[in-house]
């Protein structure tokens, strides 16, 4: 599904990604862990198509298509979704309006035509109930005044509604308490399917108890330095990143 080959990216001359190779097959869940500043979030933004990064080398293929030539909204329409670490506030735009605009924009781009309002309402109602997103949160302006947990639940609601093929979760667990973490993880797990892949970026092994990965990668200084199964995350939890950074664990 996703093939990243020798990807190099920089911001204002600072090299951040220095040759990433990563292949994710349909139905697989991959986790990326690594110390602060290793380039994890950059990788997620580059995949989604944020402007600030210059790709100097390498390629990204999504179901065989060259993603780097696509605008962010085109990437979304072909099924790439990034659940952001810091969801953005948009005053005056009701959450519900945003959801509908996004869903219909993607549907139209794919030639599916807009979803009828009653069908849309039904779908949102169903999904929001599962994620503990209240009617009031749907009426409020997008993310404005939402708590950390509300913002993250809302990201997962968008994901569930848009039904992407590849879900990228950038530190979705940060700022969540235990209960919220469970709700969010349940939401993500409900989306597991043989046709859908996930890339979970996290600092903490804890999240991976809920969302169990098939492969765990360690990223350091813009490269994937080690890959393994879910036990690798447990080892990291115990020993820290000293093995990779060359520094003693605290």
């Amino acid at each position: 599904m996703l093939e990243i080959k020798n990807l190099h990216a920089e911001v204002e001359g600072n090299k951040i990604l220095r040759g990433i190779d990563l292949t994710i097959n349909a139905g697989e869940i991959h986790a990326i862990m690594g110390p602060n500043g290793s380039g994890k979030s950059t990788l997620s933004y580059v995949l989604a198509g944020k402007d600030d990064y210059e790709i100097t080398e390498g390629e990204i293929l999504f179901n065989g298509e060259n993603v780097l030539e696509m605008e962010p909204h085109e990437r979304a329409a072909v099924g790439l979704f990034l659940a952001m670490q810091y969801p953005i506030e948009i005053p005056g735009v009701a959450n519900m309006t945003f959801l509908k605009t996004a869903l219909n924009a993607q549907r139209v781009a794919r030639g599916e035509g807009e979803l009828k309002t009653p069908d849309f309402m039904k779908k949102v109602k169903e999904l929001s109930a599962k994620l503990n997103v209240t009617q009031e949160m749907l009426r409020r302006p997008l993310n404005v005044g939402f708590s950390g947990g509300e913002k993250k639940r809302n990201e997962i609601l968008q994901m569930a509604l848009l039904e992407p093929k590849l879900c990228i979760l950038d530190e979705t667990d940060s700022g969540l308490d235990i209960d919220a973490l469970r709700i969010v993880s349940d939401g993500v797990n409900a989306l597991k399917s043989p046709e859908r892949s996930m890339l979970v970026i996290t600092h903490y092994q804890r999240l991976l108890n809920y969302i169990v990965p098939d492969v765990v990668h360690v990223m350091y200084q813009g490269k994937i330095v080690k890959s393994g199964d879910k036990d690798l995350a447990l080892q990291l939890e115990e020993k820290g990143y000293a093995e990779f950074t060359g520094e003693a664990a605290a």
Partner: protein, 494 residues
């Protein structure tokens, strides 16, 4: 958000420089000699078959105007209009004034059709629910260059006792009302442009709603400047007698021309006891091209007088056009418990300059006012909100709430807020809130990452920003305004 979607589709069909209403109508016109002097004023007055007192009134205004100077306090930068290079009167050629729509030049009717104005009486605007059916009709007075060409639904309004006609007709047919109210809100020598208007105004609308009557339909005037080098000076006078209600909408467009055209209107509203006037404007004069060439100079004086107790005047404006806008729809809150409102969306793009706002003058006890202003600047434009809220000594219990928000798109435009607050009464409570924000790259990326394209994302964010004001417009025009906003901002990103 079907409206947003539709807008974006529409926007894509047009080029950046292509102003939708930029066509010229080929029609023979009857003009006054170019320039301004007493003879031209006599010419206008004669053309209008005005009574002697009206001519004297005009000449008096003209003489006062000669002694006045153009104001320079606004944050606007433009070459002074050459007042002697303008035609002050231009009318489509017809032998007599049209008696009915059948007598109106078909070319003119086609123009109004192109502008989307329902001149034909049977036309009912779409999208109105059954229960509102009686309000779904819109009576239109259409002003082309200097004259009013057709007023619709006259008969039906007459039954309700409402007078809706051109001001020229009112001067002839209802002199007692005109004499009593004309210049009673905006005095002849109020300001440079109002005085000029008093001398040369050529047409405009007149509305009188009698005591206790709720006007059975929306009233509307469309102004169009067609002729080259023509100034448009319209005069609108609306009187709502005791306990009456009227909702009035004006729309404006002009062809695309390289030179600047002058528009200097005066609008006066008078609300008597328990009466309410709702005045909405969708102003879409030609704003000039992408290099700032051409466009309308719009110098307008609009003022409402809540003359008696419990009266209410509400201004709603959507300003998207004009190269230069100088406009401050205001309320004099004279009657006890009277209310003034000002809701504004002012959008500037390209090289447009807007200096607009309102004055709320609290004179009576327990008067209240509310100001919601949303300024959106894009391109290389400058957008200034200028407001004055004042309470006089006797205005005990006066209340005002002002909210003034600016949104910037791109980094070459400017937003400025100049609010004045003056209170001479200790019991007055005035609140002012202001914000300035920018459509951030992060907001754009967030929308795009969810599948929403660039233009549509801007439309979505801007519509969120102006929502409070759009809600104040009559329903039929809210959708129209939304479209207009998005078209105005087209090409402002990327």
């Amino acid at each position: 958000m079907a409206a947003v979607k539709e807008t974006v589709d529409q926007v894509k069909q047009i080029d950046v420089d292509q102003y939708k209403y930029g066509f010229v109508t080929e029609i023979e016109s009857d003009k006054a000699p170019i320039g301004l002097n007493e003879d031209v004023i006599r010419f206008i007055s004669a053309k209008k078959a005005e009574p002697e007192w009206m001519l004297e009134w005009r000449l008096d205004a003209y003489r006062r105007w000669l002694t006045m100077e153009e104001p320079t306090w606004a944050k606007l930068d433009y070459p002074k209009p050459k007042f002697n290079d303008i035609y002050y009167y231009s009318a489509p050629k017809v032998a007599e004034g049209p008696k009915s729509l059948d007598e109106v030049d078909p070319e003119l009717l086609r123009t109004y059709e192109k502008l989307g104005i329902p001149l034909q009486e049977q036309e009912i605007l779409a999208g109105v629910t059954e229960e509102n059916r009686q309000y779904s009709k819109v009576a239109v007075d259409a002003v082309f260059d200097s004259v009013s060409v057709a007023t619709t639904f006259k008969e039906e309004l007459k039954k309700a006792g409402v007078i809706f006609c051109s001001i020229s007709e009112a001067i002839r047919e209802h002199p007692e009302l005109v004499k009593k109210y004309l210049a009673s809100v905006v005095p002849v020598s109020d300001n440079f442009y109002a005085t000029l208007n008093s001398a040369v105004f050529t047409d405009g609308s007149f509305v009188y709603v009698p005591e206790g009557v709720r006007c059975p339909m929306e009233l509307s005037t469309y102004f169009r400047i067609n002729e080259q080098n023509t100034g448009q000076f319209e005069r609108t006078l609306i009187i709502a007698d005791k306990g009456s209600y009227v909702s009035y909408l004006e729309g404006c467009t002009a062809p695309q021309r390289d030179e600047n055209q002058l528009h200097a209107a005066v609008v006066e509203l008078i609300a008597l006891e328990d009466a309410e006037i709702k005045y909405s404007t969708v102003q879409n004069w030609y704003p000039g091209d992408s290099e700032g060439k051409g466009g309308i100079y719009n110098f307008v004086t609009k003022r409402g007088d809540c003359r008696e107790k419990n009266s209410k005047i509400s201004w709603t404006q959507v300003e998207t056009g004009s190269a230069i806008t100088w406009k401050y729809p205001s309320c004099i809150l004279r009657g006890e418990n009277s209310t003034g409102e000002f809701y504004s969306i002012a959008i500037s793009n390209g090289y447009q300059q807007i200096d607009s706002g309102t004055k709320m003058t609290h004179l009576g006890k327990n008067t209240s006012s509310r100001i919601i202003s949303k300024g959106i600047s894009a391109g290389r434009s400058n957008n200034t909100y200028r407001g004055l809220v004042s309470a006089h000594k006797k205005a005990s219990g006066a209340r005002n709430f002002t909210q003034c928000d600016s949104l910037l798109i791109g980094d070459q435009c400017g937003a400025h807020t100049v609010p004045y607050v003056e209170s001479k009464n200790a019991s007055a409570i005035f609140e002012h809130e202001a914000t300035t924000s920018k459509i951030s790259d992060d907001q754009m990326f967030y929308c795009q990452a969810r599948g929403i394209g660039e233009e549509e994302a801007v439309a979505l964010i801007v519509n969120g920003f102006v929502k409070d004001v759009i809600q104040q417009l009559p329903m039929e025009f809210a959708v129209e305004a939304q479209k207009l906003i998005n078209i105005s901002l087209e090409g402002s990103v990327g």
